[in-house]
């Protein structure tokens, strides 16, 4: 393996459960975390709904991913960013989320994006 550590940002912009994108995205994050890269996740638009508390998918008979997102820290994925405007448009605040995140203004997220080697959309 190459010795260079890359900065990789996963940008989640889709709501949970309606499509497979955030599920697959999270799988990809966990796989990539095994390669000791510098990984972050950013939640924008409907992507912020992935972090909403109290999701109960039992009646849809799908596993959901609240448990997986909750243990990202153990995989050294500690940087979770959330766009403040996206929360506000949806009537949500940081307290409505079930994981610790850093809520940022859009220009600050834009700056972070500019610092990445790779950006992967989900």
């Amino acid at each position: 393996m190459g010795e260079e550590i890359k900065k990789i940002m996963h940008v989640v912009r889709t709501a949970p459960h309606g499509t497979i994108y955030p599920y697959e995205g999270l799988e990809m994050v966990l796989i990539m975390a095994a390669y000791e890269q510098e990984i972050s996740m950013t939640f924008i638009g409907d992507g912020v709904y992935c972090l909403k508390k109290d999701q109960d998918t039992s009646k849809l008979a799908i596993k959901g991913f609240m448990k997986t997102l909750g243990v990202l820290e153990d995989y050294d994925v500690e940087k979770l960013f959330v766009d403040r405007i996206s929360l506000e448009e949806r009537g949500l605040t940081e307290e409505d989320l079930y994981v610790a995140v850093e809520v940022l203004e859009s220009p600050a997220i834009g700056k972070l994006m500019a610092q990445q080697d790779v950006i992967i959309p989900h």
């Binding site: 459960h17 309606g18 998918t57 039992s58 799908i62 949806r90």
Partner: protein
């Protein structure tokens, strides 16, 4: 006519477009990501509230639960799969995919 919405109001125009075409008293059913329109406090809340003045609005319980939506706008009727089938039996279905 039963109008079915399965996409988030933030993601495309299907919800807002549907409201323009729905006739008085046409039921509107929110399923899958469409249930985000039933949530309180979003930028679409006032639009849903004005729709409620002329159309009954329903949201599917299992999709609300899966998304952690525990409070819905006043007037939105939460239904289960049996209720969904009942509506589909009674009305011609128009799906705004």
């Amino acid at each position: 006519m039963l109008h079915c919405i399965n996409l988030s109001p933030f993601c495309g125009e299907s919800f807002t477009t549907c409201l323009r075409f729905a006739q008085d008293q046409d039921p509107i059913l929110l399923i899958q990501d469409g249930v985000y329109a039933a949530q309180t406090g979003t930028k679409f809340a006032s639009l849903v509230e004005s729709a409620l003045a002329k159309n009954p609005v329903f949201a599917l319980e299992s999709d609300l639960l899966a998304r952690g939506i525990t409070t819905t706008l006043e007037g939105v009727q939460v239904i289960d799969y049996d209720g969904f089938v009942g509506l589909a039996e009674k009305h011609q279905v128009n799906s705004w995919l």
